[in-house]
């Protein structure tokens, strides 16, 4: 019980901090970076749901991110559509595309899936790059509008955009939290652990994988659409594999398969790479090794390491408290079913 209250408090504290952050810094640039980080986080949560919980590493996510962004961009700039209508359509387009691709991609497994999606991502990128008449090709789409007003609230200023993105992020986290802690989440994790076994206990693996895949691309598309309306210019490069690697880096450093990993990782990496700006052309000389070292020494990511450490402590405690005693009271809770932070 105590643990849960603690956890709640931490989350609450983080939320409160996020809400008051703009007042604390008053620094436009920090707000800008933070907003971007929130946007990335949404994409990272998408990746986490698939790679972290279902065990399928997709390298196509920059592609879906770009599809979300370009759908919004094209619908608003070229078709002059109402922002929110375009926004919803962009999400639908990404998810439908995700569904179709998932249908084929999920026939492959493990590394094949990773490389298959790598290629899918590259194809999405190439199509955006080459299909000038629709996407403006390398020129990019200029002049994407900021989010339209919702009633009296407008989203023209950086601050209002910050809060909009934050609100959406919180909803995403809540959704992911609930999924992970539900039977559906257990089902995903079962697939991650052993797909064969999952099948023999009657789980329709294809249906569940597809569900996770579509949801994951949905988040990528959401992230992309928000990005487009925040940066308001997009070029084909946002669909490049490099962006997938970035998302993956955030996830891994934060802790894959954990709930707080995406937040921790994104903030940390974005912050580090901003700090290394002074090194200019040579910053990758430092960043590369840092990345590698972190992966070696914190293989479960920051969040994973912390929760691992906690789990160890809890296990020791548990060993003392007689397991069977608790059993007779029918109270083995599903507490540590999902290893997370």
């Amino acid at each position: 019980m105590e643990k849960i209250i603690n956890k709640r408090n931490i989350i609450l504290a983080l939320v409160v901090f996020a809400i008051f952050f703009p007042f604390v810094t008053q620094n436009d640039y920090f707000i800008h970076i933070m907003t971007l980080s929130f946007i990335w986080m949404i994409g990272v949560y998408g990746l986490n749901l698939l790679a972290g919980y279902t065990g399928y590493l997709s390298l196509a996510h920059a592609g879906f991110f770009a599809v979300g962004a370009y759908s919004l961009g094209i619908l608003t700039v070229k078709a002059q559509m109402n922002f929110w209508l375009a926004f919803v359509l962009a999400l639908i387009i990404t998810s439908v595309l995700g569904f179709l691709i998932g249908l084929i991609a999920l026939r492959t497994k493990e590394h094949f899936f990773a490389i298959y999606t790598l290629c899918v991502g590259y194809i999405l990128y190439l199509v955006i790059d080459k299909w000038d008449s629709l996407t403006e090709g390398v020129r990019g789409l200029i002049g994407i509008p900021a989010p339209g007003n919702i009633g009296p609230i407008s989203f023209e200023t950086p601050l209002s955009q910050y809060y909009l993105v934050l609100a959406i992020l919180l909803v995403v986290i809540l959704i992911v939290y609930r999924i992970v802690h539900s039977l559906t989440g257990r089902t995903y994790i079962a697939i991650r652990n052993s797909e064969n076994l999952a099948q023999t206990i009657g789980i329709s693996t294809m249906k569940n994988k597809l569900e996770a895949f579509v949801l994951s691309t949905f988040f990528a598309g959401l992230s992309g659409a928000l990005y487009a309306s925040f940066v308001r210019f997009i070029g084909p490069d946002i669909g490049n594999i490099v962006i997938t690697f970035d998302l993956l880096t955030y996830l891994l450093i934060g802790g894959i398969g954990t709930l707080s990993g995406p937040i921790v990782g994104t903030v940390l990496v974005v912050w580090i790479s901003q700090q290394l700006q002074f090194l200019q052309d040579y910053r990758m000389l430092i960043f590369g090794p840092i990345l590698t070292l972190l992966v070696i020494f914190y293989p479960r990511g920051i969040a994973g390491s912390i929760s691992g450490w906690k789990a160890k402590r809890a296990e020791r405690k548990l060993a003392k408290a007689q397991m069977d005693e608790r059993f007779s009271q029918n109270s083995i809770s599903a507490e540590n079913q999902v290893k997370e932070g």
Partner: protein, 287 residues
Amino acid sequence: MEILIQQLFNGLTIGSVYALVALGLTLVYGILHIPNFAHGALYMMGGYITLMMMVQYGLHYWLAILVSVIVVGLIGVLMERLVFYPLRHAPPIHDKIAAIGILLFLEAFAQYVWGADYHTMPTPYGQVVQLFGLTFTMQRMLIIIAAIAVMVLLFLFLKKTYTGASIIAMSQDRDGANLVGINTNRVAMLTFLISGGLAAIASSLAAPINLVFPGMGQLVILKAFVIIILGGMGSIPGAIIGGYILGFSESLGATYISNDYKDLIAFILLVIILSVKPTGLFAKGGH
């Protein structure tokens, strides 16, 4: 007709380079069971070292390549020791990210040492040979012949020698290899040595027909991944055949379908193949 033959030759040239790169990648995949994203960076390092040996130390082309093979091979070994070995029990995603870290580092390193601009690699085989109205440059012939020679040697090594077989054995069961007395650490290092060496040969052969620059590895690495998937990961004949399939599909695709979309052709080919055969063309048996 002439065009067709010229393009087949072009496809053969570029396919040879692809095959060499893919071979190195597939070997390491076999041992590590991860796609080594840093392989492209090794390719790039190979180009620079050969270039430096030739330009700065005045070595002959072949000698320069030899030095490059050794140095890049050693970089590969270092990579194995410092990064992949400590990560051998970690889940596969970790190796991927670590490899990306190495990739970022090596590219920045090359830029730091040699600058960000393009370099030209001289070659003693600049001659152009015209035969039946077709153009063969010596360098291109060299690429094809040398690549095939390297591949035959590698094949013999793996199939006919115990040391070679130990690489294959280890790729299938690391503990098992240990139990029959194979020094698995040494084999892992050896594999990286060969893999790096292959990358260096590939780039040293290909650089005279293109350029040497920090991002040159990216030209081939993504395609190398397409190839090893196409060929079934870890499969050596698969990598070679896949390399040529891609080479030909690019040169013929550019000629008879569309130049702008020729990259797309290769990737779509792959997607179709994997859709039909989810484990690649040459996936080996077993469960």
